[in-house]
């Protein structure tokens, strides 16, 4: 490991480019040998740097459960220079990949527990592999509740997956939007409202949150009121970073580095810094 320059990306090939929401595309990269940085696989919660050569690289949470030889999926919202360049790419184009990086959801520890998955907007992407993992090994986990929020119905990243998720045994899927048209059958309002409506019980339940900082902050407050202990509240954080391996220094929350100590944290690790993350 130490003989390898971790800043060198491996060249990968885009095998799938799909529009999944306004300004959001799902990219699939063929997981050829060497793309996994010598690690056996990508785990739910981990991330990778994707290079659009010429525009730079940026970190993205993986959005699919990955098997060796499978396809690495990333949901990319067009926002800055790198993501704009990525959006201009098509199937067959080359990108650079550095990963897998960071820690992952301790899925083994979650086994036997109920899971409450709370996602908002583009931030819900890293939750997809968690849901896929649970679905694939359904008997090993308790009940699964999925709460997804987005600006409008079209902004829900995984509309295509929802029918499938609804059919997972012992799974509740709750959706909400900020604004909608008449066709929308689900809730309208913030994810915190949705939490109050569904009123999850903390007993034997692990809550996993991922989304914009402001959503995490308030959703966490609601969970605290409901009686979830810090060890039962997990979050994946995002921060501006340039190396992903603890060198560039900029993703710190206190002495914690999001890239190497995270991006998955339980609230007993980062609770006190949550305000400075806002």
């Amino acid at each position: 490991m130490s003989n390898q320059n971790v800043m060198i990306p491996t060249v990968g090939k885009l095998v799938q480019v799909k529009d999944i929401a306004p300004e959001v595309k799902m990219f699939g990269i063929e997981l050829t040998k060497g793309l996994d940085n010598g690690n056996s696989t990508y785990r739910p919660g981990q991330f990778a740097f994707i290079s659009a050569f010429g525009s730079g690289e940026a970190p993205f949470g993986i959005a699919s459960a990955v098997e060796p030889g499978g396809v690495l999926e990333f949901a990319v919202q067009r926002l800055g220079g790198v993501t704009t360049a990525l959006h201009e790419l098509a199937e067959g184009d080359s990108v650079g990949v550095r990963g897998p990086l960071g820690n992952w959801f301790p899925m083994d520890e979650f086994k036997g527990h109920n899971l409450l998955v709370v996602g908002g907007g583009i931030g819900s992407a890293p939750l997809r592999p968690v849901i896929q993992e649970v679905a694939a090994n359904r008997s090993e986990y308790g009940d699964l509740s999925i709460l997804m929020a987005a600006r409008t119905p079209q902004h829900h990243l995984f509309l295509e997956d929802y029918p499938e998720w609804e059919n997972i045994p012992d799974c509740n899927l709750h959706l909400t939007v900020d604004e909608c048209d008449e066709d929308w059958k689900c809730e309208v309002g913030l994810v915190t409202d949705l939490l109050k409506i569904t009123d999850p019980k903390p007993k034997d339940t692990i809550a996993i949150m991922c989304g914009p900082p402001i959503m995490i902050y308030y959703a966490d407050k609601v969970l605290v009121e409901m009686g979830f202990s810090p060890e039962e509240r997990y979050v994946t954080l995002e921060a501006r970073m340039h190396c992903g391996v603890g060198k560039c220094g900029r993703c710190n929350l206190g002495e914690t580095l999001v890239c190497v100590d995270g991006p998955v944290f339980s609230m007993d690790q980062v609770g006190e810094f949550l305000e400075s993350y806002l």
């Binding site: 525009s55 730079g56 800055g80 220079g81 790198v82």
Partner: protein, 286 residues
């Protein structure tokens, strides 16, 4: 004593709730004069006036006006008041929310901020200063003083005169050596009260006109570009050069452009509430 008068007046402004905060100068623990923000009457005795009050405090105005609801009191030297005119012309500040405390100024000394001892010489801009009192103010402390036309024997002036006569090659050599030292800390930009684009053109992620590396070439593009963006706006407070840890002769670029603005467009930045002619269309007869 000007210091005393500033303290008293600031105190009354805060007591009468005319302003939320007074921006002025204080002397720090290392005997260094520096900016201070006073929002409580009890702290007004920290305010001072001396010949080391070099900072152009208007650099803080925009942020401070954003952060507060009320009015801001600010200690302003005659020269700094030009900045307020430019900021006003560009609609960057709301003049009505300012309470300008004008100060009689006999000139600021060279070399006061960095720890090196002051030379006792007046700054070059002060030798050339023609303002006896601020161009715009709400209250004046001290009387208008008489301006003497002082001879400019500064090293900086000698250098300017040499540069004017130098050959293109000599000029190039001189400036490459200057720009080579730049570490792109952007202190020049940050210290400039007029340089406050939300995202600097030279730092945009997609900027392809100037590289972000601290190479001589990119440094030069940055400094020339920045100087140009200030053409007709720079009032010559010299904060960029004073802030520069590498002592790059940035003031010279601004002086050259100011001279050209005066010669080509008869425009002197900040003397009136007027936009730089470079952003307006050609006048009649031109």
């Amino acid at each position: 004593m000007i210091t005393k008068k500033i303290q008293e007046y600031a105190s009354s402004l805060l007591a009468d709730q005319v302003v939320d905060c007074v921006i002025g100068y204080e002397v720090g623990p290392r005997r260094t004069t520096r900016p201070i923000f006073v929002d409580q009457q009890a702290d007004t005795d920290r305010l001072v006036w001396n010949q080391n009050c070099s900072h152009n405090l208007t650099v803080y105005l925009r942020q401070k006006l954003n952060d507060t609801e009320g009015r801001i009191g600010i200690v302003v030297k005659p020269c700094d008041s030009k900045t307020i005119n430019v900021l006003g012309a560009e609609n960057r500040i709301d003049r009505d929310r300012l309470h300008i405390i004008g100060i009689e100024c006999e000139g600021i000394l060279e070399g006061n901020v960095k720890q090196n001892a002051d030379s006792g010489e007046l700054q070059r801009r002060c030798l050339a200063c023609d303002l006896t009192e601020p161009l715009d103010m709400d209250y004046m402390i001290g009387g208008s003083i008489e301006r003497k036309n002082l001879p400019d024997n500064s090293t900086s002036n000698k250098l300017s005169r040499w540069l004017e006569k130098a050959t293109a090659d000599d000029r190039l050599e001189y400036w490459l050596s200057e720009f080579d030292r730049c570490i792109r800390c952007y202190a020049c930009r940050q210290a400039c009260p007029l340089c406050d684009c939300p995202t600097c053109l030279f730092e945009r992620e997609d900027s392809i006109w100037t590289g972000s590396s601290a190479t001589t070439k990119d440094n030069r593009s940055f400094h020339l570009g920045r100087a140009f963006h200030l053409a007709g706006r720079c009032i010559g407070c010299g904060e960029c050069q004073r802030a520069c840890p590498m002592d790059i002769n940035l003031g010279e670029l601004n002086r050259v452009l100011a001279r050209e603005m005066e010669e080509q467009f008869h425009h002197r930045a900040g003397y009136t509430v007027e936009l730089s002619p470079i952003t307006t269309i050609l006048g009649e007869g031109r």
